[in-house]
């Protein structure tokens, strides 16, 4: 979508927009079947060097299968996976410049932290001095120097996670795969570790592919996200693009909270389309550059934080729906009002709690107006 505002950070990193860039990893029409079950269906995807790429989806969507094919634990039923110029079709795991950090960490229980980290280098018959140097480098990278001589069972969860990371980085892989790397950590530690991961990735200039079902985690760490469903990719874009301009109900719903309104296109005038969404209600106005066909059934997505709520009817709002407060979700920093519209559908409006709770003027069963600008809604294809 060209309509995008600048959603990238100041120093723009977007190799996927540059047709001259060679992707590091290419999935070319990859299909993977397990017996009758199709885990991945005719999937094509490019991942570029230095990307932090997230495969996001619910369990069973095929994201782990994609990762295991990259690692070499599974092979595609048809199609090719290219790493640079090499076809990975036949390469066994130990012949790929790819390393993986396992969800369970998979630390070798009979080896010390040092031996775990040096294990990969030892297999390459690296000189002992060099192994020692690399291990020390890795230990300092993950700040575990004092724990070099410990065994895995003598470490806490967060420390184990860092040993696993150090071990997978020790061989300087071209591609690092992270399988739900933070799943076992508690929330605070997870957030902190997300930033550590990003720093390490940037510092080493490596390409990371992370598999996760946690949309917040994907949005925080990733340069691009592939939203997956049933062995297919629904959308590949930057976190901001997917959030602001989801292409489907599935990806709109998967990333963050969303109001999805179904309706028929009424008329399109200039860059504003109107959508008839309920009997006896004023059609909704949506800015769009596309010229949707009148009469087609479609959906729009509006994020709850873009809806505003008031007891009095706002003057000249682009879109305004009258309803009744059905429920209030209070999570401290924000309150989510569930407003029931005339046709029975529920709209969620999020308000950040700048004032004290006691001052909250809107309460259950109040009649309220929910309103938003025409630029806040976006059409969904499917």
């Amino acid at each position: 979508m060209e309509t995008l505002v600048n959603t990238q950070p100041v120093c723009k990193f977007a190799p996927w927009e540059d047709p001259a860039q060679e992707p590091l990893v290419r999935f070319e029409n990859v299909t993977k079947k397990f017996g009758d079950f199709t885990a991945i269906e005719d999937l094509t995807l490019n991942i570029y060097e230095r990307e932090f790429f997230a495969l996001l989806g619910p369990s069973g969507c095929g994201k782990t299968t994609m990762m295991r094919m990259l690692a070499g634990f599974e092979y595609p039923t048809s199609g090719n996976i290219m790493l640079g110029q090499n076809n990975l079709q036949k390469a066994p795991p130990h012949k790929r410049p790819v390393n993986m950090m396992f969800q369970s960490y998979a630390l070798f229980p009979h080896m010390t932290v040092e031996q775990n980290i040096g294990f990969g280098l030892k297999q390459e018959k690296t000189a002992k001095v060099e192994i020692k140097r690399r291990v020390e480098e890795m230990l300092s990278l993950v700040q575990l120097e004092p724990f070099a001589k410990r065994k895995p069972h003598q470490l806490s969860g967060g420390q184990k996670q860092r040993v696993a990371l150090a071990r997978s980085l020790a061989k300087k892989p071209k591609l690092l795969l992270l399988d739900e790397p933070l799943g076992a950590l508690d929330r605070k530690l997870r957030e902190q570790t997300q930033f550590e991961l990003m720093n390490i990735q940037e510092q080493l200039g490596l390409t990371f592919v992370i598999v996760t079902h946690d949309q917040e985690e994907a949005m925080t760490v990733a340069s691009r996200i592939a939203v997956m469903d049933h062995g297919k990719i629904v959308q590949v874009a930057t976190p901001a693009e997917i959030y602001e301009y989801p292409n489907s109900r599935y990806s709109a719903d998967f990333l963050g909270d969303v109001n999805i309104i179904e309706g028929q296109i009424d008329v399109t005038t200039g860059e504003t389309a109107s959508l008839a969404w309920a009997e006896g209600e004023i059609p909704l106005a949506i800015s769009t550059k596309l010229r949707p066909q009148a009469g087609t059934t479609t959906w729009i997505a509006v994020r709850p934080e873009k809806l505003r709520i008031s007891k009095d009817k706002p003057a000249n709002a682009d879109n305004c729906i009258k309803g009744e407060v059905w429920d209030i979700g209070y999570t401290g920093n924000i309150s989510t009002y569930h407003v029931k519209a005339s046709n029975g559908s529920i709209l969620k409006a999020q308000v950040s709690n700048r004032e004290h709770l006691a001052d909250r003027p809107i309460t259950w069963e109040d009649t309220v107006y929910v309103y938003w600008e025409k630029g806040a809604g976006v059409f969904l294809d499917a």
Partner: protein, 272 residues
């Protein structure tokens, strides 16, 4: 916590008496001066001396140890291989059948196993002796080894092997460097079990053995048939003591390691 009341105390006493009274009686009579087993005639250690000077006992003990060592080692290797295949190979035709066939010898009456082995050795024209006993022991203790090792493999985390492959190991070196050291305690346990079973066996050895390869249980049994001598009591007491010392040491070592590990784990969690 349940306190010791009269009911618990009685139950415990009866239970232990049931288990150990015969053994204690045997050990007491091994110090009997008299030649008559059931008549106490004063304390003496002379039967122990005579055991050590009885060449046929020493020979039998030596045969038993050698059979046990060789058969336990071979059975553990074979059993481990069987366990690995049955645990690792995906579903294949006849997997259930194969699994069942591995376990079947455990429930097979020993007499049948012994007889069938005897028939086999006879029909193959094997000279019965040391090697036939060893082969027979490998056959029946292999399934126990397979059971012990596969019990460990069920809880073995496959991602450990995958991690080794991922870090540059071939399948074989991943097995040698990661899988084997981790499942080693189970393999050791399997070996000990196979060894014990071999030491213990009388029935199968009697069928499979020939002249010059008398194992200790066979020797004891044949002696008892002509009458229980205090010498046998002494020999049995020695065996019991060796086993008891082994078991107690093993469990103490395990317990200590466990306590140490738990302490370290608690420390690791609290240090975070």
């Amino acid at each position: 916590m349940t306190r010791f009341n009269w009911f618990n105390t009685t139950t415990l006493t009866l239970g232990f008496a049931f288990l150990y009274l015969p053994i204690i009686l045997l050990m007491i009579y091994s110090f009997n001066e008299s030649r008559l087993v059931t008549v106490w005639a004063g304390f003496s250690t002379k039967w122990y001396q005579s055991v050590f000077f009885n060449e046929s006992f020493i020979n039998a003990a030596w045969v038993t140890l050698r059979v046990g060592f060789i058969s336990a080692s071979v059975a553990t290797v074979l059993g481990t291989m069987a366990a690995l295949v049955l645990n690792r190979a995906g579903p294949f035709h006849g997997k259930t059948l194969f699994t069942g066939m591995i376990y079947a010898p455990m429930v097979m009456p020993e007499v049948i196993t012994g007889l069938s082995l005897l028939l086999l050795f006879v029909s193959l024209d094997f000279t019965r002796g040391f090697w036939t006993v060893t082969l027979a022991h490998i056959t029946f203790s292999m399934c126990y080894a397979a059971v012990v090792v596969s019990a460990r493999l069920v809880t073995f985390e496959r991602s450990l092997e995958e991690a080794a492959l991922d870090l540059g190991c071939t399948r074989f070196s991943a097995f040698m460097q990661v899988t084997l050291p981790i499942i080693f305690p189970a393999i050791l346990a399997a070996w000990l079990l196979a060894f014990t079973l071999s030491l213990d066996d009388l029935v199968i050895a009697s069928f499979a053995s020939g002249p010059g390869a008398t194992t200790l249980p066979m020797k004891i049994y044949s002696q008892v048939r002509v009458g229980v001598s205090p010498e046998i009591n002494a020999l049995s007491s020695i065996l019991i003591s060796v086993v008891a010392v082994g078991v107690v040491t093993a469990s103490l070592v395990t317990k200590q390691a466990q306590v140490k590990r738990m302490k370290e784990e608690r420390l690791a969690i609290s240090s975070n």
